[in-house]
Amino acid sequence: MINLPPAFIYIIGALLIPLVRVRRLQQAIALLIPILAMITLWQMPQGVYWQMRFLDYDLILGRVDKLSLLFAYIFVIISFIGMLYAIHIKEMGQHVAAYLYVGSTLGVVFAGDLFSLFFFWEIMAAASVFLIWYNKTEASLKAGFRYALVHLFGGAILLGGIVMQVSNTGSILFNPFDLSTLAAKFILFGFLINAAVPPLHAWLPDAYPEGTITGSVFMTAFTTKSAVYVLARSFAGTEILIWLGAIMALYGVIYAVIEKDIRRLLSYHIVSQVGYMVCAVGIGTEMALNGAGAHAFCHILYKAVLFMGMGAVIQMTGRRNILDLKGRHLYKKMPLTLGLYMVGAFSISAVPLFNGFVSKTMIVAAAGSSHLPIIEIMLHLASVGTFLSVGLKLPWGVWFGKPDGSEDEIAEAKEPPLNMQLGMGIGALLCIITGIFPETLYKLLPYKVEFHPYTPNHIVASLQLLVLTLAGFWIYRDKLMAGEKSISLDTDWFYRVFGRAVLNFCLYPLNRFRDLVQSAFVSRTRTIASLSKHPYALLELFWYTLSGERKTMAELLQRPYDEKDYRLPVGIGVCASLIFLFIYALVYMRVAS
């Protein structure tokens, strides 16, 4: 219909929204943009197009194949759901930031060269930070700055890698890299920051809980999954990713068990779930890459549902901590939100008939068929932890929980506005559809799928795992809900505490040293400056020293220069020049003869 890269549909659309003054029309445009983008996606043939000449290089804005289309489809779908959930917001800047963010992510997905990849990569970071700042709390301001700094650092590393790559190979094509080169290592590092791979992950659970209710829904989908896409595109089969991914899957799970802030808990489960994808990319077989793509697709859907559900709870109750919500019988006031949240929770926990079951099992099976026993066990254990925290602990703490008598009533809570319910509803519906009819998803995957999730053994084994996790939870449920409000240390400690120490070092000892050096230089310069106004002082000092009188330079310089003090009789000048001429004449005659 329109021959425009989907990235520009969003970016132009984002700039158009604030120009329209009628609110209904603004909302209509905001919802129309993803529909327009989806139609464009359907009509985009596979191949390489939208090439532009820039300096001496060809930029490629349309590298379209099954892998890029898979990610583009889900990004466009979730942008519609996210915008529907956010459409009641009057502050247009939030929508603009969200769509610049979506557009730049689509730019990354279809980028065929490293320059446009980097360009969109940076817009992504710059646009998304506003989704944190719009929350307008002191915590969000600070978290936003940390988020921006981490991503700018990652972007700088990525740019360094790209520059090295281009100067080594002379090509800007974005293709699989050879990890033995330094350039590829830099690029991988930049990608790993956005994929939130520990120890480079702390920006995620730091920033996402501080974002706006609606903005965080967008953030859960785009940054980490676009990083999974670029990893799948260029580092498939890199062995270190297998281990990083499996560690990541467990890392997030362990933090989630002790976490009480509801969106921070879910953020740790993004780290965990992206771990499955990173691991699958590292395995690199066709089945594993299919698994990574499928899991990214499903994860975006259910994670949005989970964040929308918890966002609704925060919006309607004003509370964000399990300790402030447990035992208040919220299930009586927000049953629909609970139901839709549980669809997301069952999906992430890979309950049969929900979409996580058709994608996560594929990755675990890929680890099995690639003969990686430790990895398989690690991913299996992470599945247990996922159901434990997201499927049991969180809903139990937020909607149920045993009252201990100290609870205050949450009188004001009710179901969220209709548009938020619709957003959650569509997300939940898609989780179920892709769960029950996995072929709808499988036919979008990059390779041919020869995997059947619904075998009796798979179903029975999953149910065994889930039911016994429930048993384990039931034994420890009160322990999991207990505790004080606290924060968990993570690798952001290094830039928050160590960073502050560096700052304090600069502010105090280093600054004092600078002061010292500066004042020493200033006083010397001042002496030289006043000396230049009164050079005779130096001679006088010399004279006084010879004659044994003790005077300091400062003393001598205090008396201003007065030419009358030093004026000599004319005769001395004439005499001196005569002597000079006489000596000159002598020398001249000597040389000439």
């Binding site: 068990v257 398989e376 299996h380 065994q464 384990g472 939870f473 322990k479």
Partner: protein
């Protein structure tokens, strides 16, 4: 629903899954533990307890700090 009845249902469910584990063994086991029938019963139970105990221990002894930890100057 009273707790005794709930735990009875739970027990029955676990028993049923245990039996089903024997009826539907893994057709393509890659590792030795996949040949054990109803392995996931043990893995789910022990795994969840292990995760809770380990994470709680780690949180208690190291990771969890006062909520003003980063605000101290």
């Amino acid at each position: 629903m009273n707790p005794t009845r709930l735990s009875r249902i739970m027990m029955a469910l676990i028993l049923a899954l245990f039996v089903l584990g024997f009826i539907f063994p893994n057709p393509h086991p890659h590792f030795w533990w996949q040949k054990i029938p109803a392995f996931d019963i043990f893995f789910g139970f022990l795994g969840s307890i292990l995760l809770i105990v380990f994470a709680k221990w780690l949180g208690h002894n190291w990771l969890l700090k006062d909520k003003d930890y980063y605000n101290h100057d």
